[in-house]
């Protein structure tokens, strides 16, 4: 496989860009793998990559029922940050952000990380107090963040509605400078290419339809493309995790919901932060191409419908125009939805399952994209050693039985 470099870029350009080869192979399925990973999204591909790179396990297949980048990895709003409340959460999310900071170099793939800053607006005294509470907790956990005043917000985001009659007046903002955006396709493509280079088989259009079990462990995965023998199974299927668990014979505390997002036509650069308003629930950023990417809270009913619906689009757009009246004339280009895996405490589920050789990575809810490198690394550790990674200890499936929840939904007030 060819390395990407300035020299090679120029060489291909001189030949009219006709000499590129596919970034990963279309392998022929083998009858048996040491590890089969279910789900070819960011978490599944990252798991395969770290299995090969950190543990030398390369006899691995990643099974994707659709195509690489067609599920939630292509449906998120590309935001990254690590401003969580509990030390165990910060340890995982900040590990992800630190790995993202080095990922382009690590994978030899430009993931277009843009640490433009994450800004959570503060609209009233209560939000100011909870932002200060969060600040203190972040400082204790070694994460740099700041609270900025109204005038500074106005200077940084001149297009924001700061008028006295705004529906939600802005009195300041919480800001994590290291937060920002990444090109989401590049993350999955980069991991897929790097894992393929280390010998991992990436199998698209291959849906899991059942398991063969013996002695409490899975011996083979039955798929739409035939039977695949396996030593261990990793599950990274996000909103579809319950279906895999059901086939394997255990239950998950997961409900699947639509999380919608939408994108406008491209505009000239005018918004250089990711802006989130806790009062409207809307988050918005401008891509490097100039489009505005917008999203808000998940739909509250159970759903596997991977598409946008008008009540949510209307709510989101109404809030965006209230916050940024200047966008009133902008046309919406596309809208869509991903299926997110909501758990009662809004924290991920990582590590072993009741089935001996099956390990899981799910429950990230609406926060899965920002966690991809850490999610992959921790699941890889679990699969390679049979035990959860030290950072994943508090996130086991058994925490629901022992009632040791990591309640980030209450603590950080996160929208997922």
């Amino acid at each position: 496989m060819q390395r990407y470099s300035f020299f090679n870029l120029a060489r291909h350009a001189l030949r009219g860009n006709t000499t590129y080869t596919p970034a990963w192979h279309q392998p022929k399925l083998k009858p048996q793998y040491d590890v089969v990973i279910i789900g070819g999204g960011g978490h599944g591909l990252a798991t395969a990559y770290y299995l090969a790179k950190n543990y030398g396990i390369t006899n691995v297949a990643v099974l994707e029922k659709g195509w690489i980048g067609g599920g939630n990895s292509g449906r998120n709003t590309t935001n990254v940050r690590s401003d969580y409340m509990f030390p165990e959460s910060v340890a995982v999310y900040d590990l992800a952000l630190r790995l993202y900071e080095e990922l382009a170099k690590d994978l030899n793939f430009n993931i277009m990380l843009s640490q433009r800053g994450w800004m959570t607006l503060i609209h009233d005294q209560h939000q100011l107090e909870s932002a200060q509470h969060k600040m203190n907790s972040l400082v204790c956990n070694g994460i740099e963040a700041q609270i900025i005043g109204r005038e500074e917000v106005r200077r940084m985001i001149p297009t924001l509605n700061m008028s006295a009659n705004a529906r939600y007046p802005v009195i300041g903002a919480f800001r994590q400078k290291r937060g920002g955006t990444i090109r989401h396709d590049a993350v999955v493509w980069g991991y897929a290419r790097a894992a393929d280079q280390l010998g991992v088989h990436i199998v698209q259009d291959c849906e899991v339809i059942g398991f063969e079990k013996a002695g409490g462990s899975i011996t083979a995965v039955k798929t739409s493309r035939g039977r695949i023998g396996c030593g261990a199974v990793g599950v990274a299927a996000a909103g579809h995790s319950s279906l895999i668990a059901d086939m394997a014979g255990f239950r998950l505390p997961v409900t699947s919901h639509c999380l919608q997002a939408m994108v406008s036509e491209p505009l000239k650069p005018l918004l250089n932060h990711v802006v989130f308003s806790p009062s409207t629930g809307v988050y918005i950023n401008q891509t490097q191409k100039g489009e505005l990417v917008m999203g808000s809270a998940r739909d509250l009913y159970a759903s596997y419908g991977q598409r946008g619906t008008f009540p949510t689009i209307e709510k989101t757009i109404t809030a965006v125009i209230e916050m940024f009246p200047i966008f009133g004339q902008t046309r919406l280009m596309r809208h869509w939805a991903g299926i997110v895996d909501i758990v009662p405490d809004s924290s991920p589920i990582l590590g072993p399952t009741p089935v001996g050789n099956m390990h899981i990575n799910c429950g990230w809810g609406s926060g899965g994209f920002k966690a991809i490198p850490a999610g992959g690394l921790l699941l890889a550790c679990s699969l390679a050693t049979g035990k959860p990674h030290p950072l994943a200890l508090k996130f086991g499936l058994d925490r629901f039985r022992s009632n040791r929840l990591v309640d980030e939904s209450a603590a950080a007030g996160s929208a997922h």
Partner: protein, 91 residues
């Protein structure tokens, strides 16, 4: 958009006027003292989370305020059955 006719007030309501109440069949252990940790975990946290026809509760919250039972397809959102809480079928 989800549109359901309330089996009590018979008005057609959209998802904006209704409240989703989660899946049917999650029953609190009848004898709490003797229920095991596994039974409690199952009741409190574990869900079937079906892809396809799903039995669930909805409330006519901006309307008559009654809770009722619905069978809905979780991909198409097609509603195939609406029952009152006492399971009587209405239109």
């Amino acid at each position: 958009m989800i549109v359901i006719r309330c089996p009590y007030c018979h008005e057609q309501k959209t998802e904006e006027e209704l409240t989703y109440g989660g899946e049917l069949g999650v029953t609190r252990p009848l004898d709490p003292e003797s229920a095991s940790d596994t039974e409690w975990t199952d009741y409190l946290f574990m869900r079937t989370n079906r892809k396809g026809l799903h039995r669930e509760y909805w409330c006519c919250s901006i309307g008559c305020g009654q809770w009722f039972k619905v069978t809905r397809h979780t991909i198409t959102h097609e509603v195939t059955e609406i029952n009152r809480s006492d399971d009587s079928v209405v239109g």
